[in-house]
């Protein structure tokens, strides 16, 4: 009986911690949703209400005007378009180039393999800010506009990671596949793109997702490179510099609405590809 009671208490405590974690993780998101559905007057109510309420009657009063305003906001909509262009291009480019390199590093024999691996591992930790002024000077010197600049420079943090994860995946594929293809007369490159690449699909999806999310969220380079070209701003920059249609000062209702709009694609991706994202995130660290 005593042991039983202790077990029950233990279960309750466990679920309490569980609930606490969920609330902690989701509350800021909830607060943003809550605020995004308030009018300017409701946002100024003190104390702030946990659901949108009418200032006079205190009834629940939800509005979607902030979402309307956000989609009428030209710089935000342009930001969405820019973000899609940049993030998709970065993902495709990183996967293509990364898969080439990973195939070589994972399956081919050549001199200089170990140093190459060391270099790429080191690159995964390369701080963006260290090359900020150098890249900025290079880009302005060559006169490259902001969007292609972002696409190419985002390789700095997507490519090494992609190569690293894909290499370990290629390494795990049985050598016999390659050998039997060679026996059938396939060149190594044919073996690569006709046989190995389809097999790596799961790893490509994982690394592609991570590259997409990283590119979608990037802020430092986007902010710096678009400083003289505001029409190329991506969504994070647009949100950081948001000026509103309704409120004069900091239009937090609209900012929250914009934040929710930007986060929703990511949340959906995360919900669908949960397992893959987690395995990709932890791949580098746990296998080490």
């Amino acid at each position: 009986m005593n042991k039983n009671a202790r077990n029950v208490l233990g279960r309750i405590f466990f679920w309490f911690l569980y609930a606490l974690i969920v609330v902690w993780m989701l509350f800021p998101f909830y607060w943003a949703v809550n605020s995004s559905m308030k009018t300017e007057a409701q946002l100024q109510m003190t104390p702030a209400t946990f659901v949108p309420r009418d200032p006079q009657t205190n009834d629940i009063a939800v509005t979607l005007q902030n979402y309307g305003a956000v989609f009428r906001n030209e710089s935000f909509v342009r930001g969405l378009v820019n973000s899609v262009i940049v993030a998709v291009s970065v993902t495709v480019l990183a996967l293509m180039i990364g898969a080439f390199a990973a195939f070589a590093l994972g399956k081919l024999r050549f001199r200089g393999k170990t140093p190459s691996l060391y270099l790429i591992l080191a690159m995964t930790m390369f701080p963006q800010v260290a090359v900020l002024s150098g890249l900025y000077a290079l880009i302005t010197f060559l006169g490259i506009s902001a969007r292609p600049s972002m696409i190419v420079t985002y390789m700095l943090f997507t490519l090494p990671f992609t190569v690293w994860v894909l290499t370990s995946f290629f390494r795990g594929l049985p050598l016999e596949i390659m050998q039997s293809a060679e026996v059938d007369g396939a060149t190594p490159f044919q073996t690569f793109y006709m046989i190995l690449l389809p097999l790596t699909m799961p790893a490509l999806v994982t690394t592609g997702l991570l590259a997409f999310i990283a590119a979608w969220n990037e802020y430092l380079f986007a902010l710096t490179f678009t400083s003289i070209e505001p029409e190329a701003r991506t969504v994070p920059v647009a949100i950081a510099l948001f000026t509103g249609e309704i409120a004069r000062q900091e239009p937090f209702g609209e900012i929250m609405a914009a934040g929710i709009v930007v986060s929703i694609p990511l949340v959906i991706l995360v919900l669908i590809f949960q397992q893959r994202i987690i395995s990709g995130l932890t791949a580098g660290a746990v296998k080490g």
Binding site: S133, T153, L159, F189, A240
Partner: protein, 361 residues
């Protein structure tokens, strides 16, 4: 026989050539976007280059570094009251009055400004720096890094243990994993804005409402403008954003531990705490080390949250570098500050590789 041998080495040669061709794009990109700019940053850090300006660039040697990093500590003598010959006492606070820092700190060749004052063994000292903002940024970034990483490690471990208590394929576990990916996935720009709103200086902000409800403060706590609260606020935001990542890493590490040893320990009657300390911790040590260093390197280059929430009222090393480049157009100076960050991170990264080693086969 001889023919076959040369045929094999031919194949090996072809394979090698293919490997090099496949690696060309990757290395080309690394050279163009990492090595070349890094080299130019190193070079520029020794010049007084101003971006988009007509003034000719000169090589100034280590001047930028001297300006960034010079610090000095001077003792502040007490003010002597002329009439009594004793140290003067502030009539309001009842404390000894000290000489003003500005009179003590050196002015030539570069002017030192006060960073902070402290007392040690009854003497008052002032810490001066030629670039007060940078020295503060370094200090703040290091404090931020240490506190966030420790908190994230402890909380991440706790969360990982809670989740690990659920069976691998249970709905509860899948649900909480999805929930944890939300803070990780949303852009830092968005989360910074969300928290900025929650930290609002009036009772329109969530925290002021809660704190007042708890009887702390008057509902007007300026979390983001008061120096005392700025850094803790940054830490709270970052811990929320990155603890999930830490927890996921540690959870993966926990997953590698065989369940059998716990059953054996249960049979032997070892307590849960004992099991954690003498079995779980040592077994998860490699993962713990990787997670720790990953996060440390990441925290040292923190930019988004500082730039968005605090702008120029308080800097991280990275946001200071950004403002020197884009705000002041001081390319040479900003490059020097980049180099300082790079070297700091490099030291940690070397430690990381040393600790782990790289398996090439």
């Amino acid at each position: 026989m001889a023919k076959k041998k040369s045929g094999l080495s031919d194949l090996a040669k072809r394979e090698e050539r293919l490997a090099y061709w496949l690696l060309v794009p990757t290395f080309f990109i690394i050279v163009v976007i990492a090595f070349y700019p890094l080299g130019s940053v190193f070079y520029n850090s020794f010049t007084n280059k101003i971006f988009a300006s007509a003034t000719p660039t000169e090589v100034v040697g280590l001047d930028n570094y001297r300006q960034l990093l010079s610090v000095t500590i001077k003792e502040l003598p007490p003010v002597i009251d002329e009439s009594t010959g004793q140290p003067a006492i502030d009539p309001e606070t009842g404390e000894i009055q000290y000489e003003r820092a500005i009179n003590v700190l050196p002015r030539e060749p570069n002017r030192y400004r006060e960073v902070t004052q402290f007392s040690l063994f009854g003497n008052q000292y002032v810490l001066g720096a030629t670039d007060r903002d940078f020295v503060r940024a370094v200090w703040d970034t290091v404090v931020f890094t240490v506190v966030t990483v420790v908190l994230e490690l402890v909380l991440g471990m706790g969360i990982a243990l809670v989740i690990n208590g659920f069976p691998a394929r249970s709905v509860a576990r899948a649900a909480i994993m999805a929930v944890m990916l939300v803070p990780w996935a949303i852009p830092t720009a968005v989360s910074s804005r969300m928290w900025q709103w929650m930290f609002g200086p009036t009772r329109t902000g969530f925290f002021n409402v809660v704190f007042q409800y708890l009887g702390i403060g008057n509902g007007q706590i300026p979390f983001l403008t008061d120096e005392r609260f700025q850094l803790p606020a940054m830490i709270v935001i970052d811990v929320w954003k990155t603890t999930p990542f830490m927890a996921l890493l540690l959870l993966a590490g926990l997953g590698l531990i065989s369940k059998d040893i716990y059953e054996a320990a249960n049979v032997d009657g070892a307590s849960k705490i004992r099991q954690f300390v003498s079995m779980t911790l040592p077994l998860i040590r490699p993962t713990l080390a990787v997670a720790l260093i990953f996060r440390t390197l990441d925290a040292l280059r923190v930019f988004d949250v500082f730039q968005i929430v605090l702008a120029q009222s308080r800097y991280s090393m990275a946001s200071y570098t950004y403002y020197q480049l884009i705000g002041a157009r001081a390319m040479g100076y900003s490059s020097a500050s980049s180099v300082v960050i790079f070297l700091l991170i490099f030291v940690f990264a070397v430690g990381y590789i040393r600790l782990l080693g790289v398996e090439s086969e």
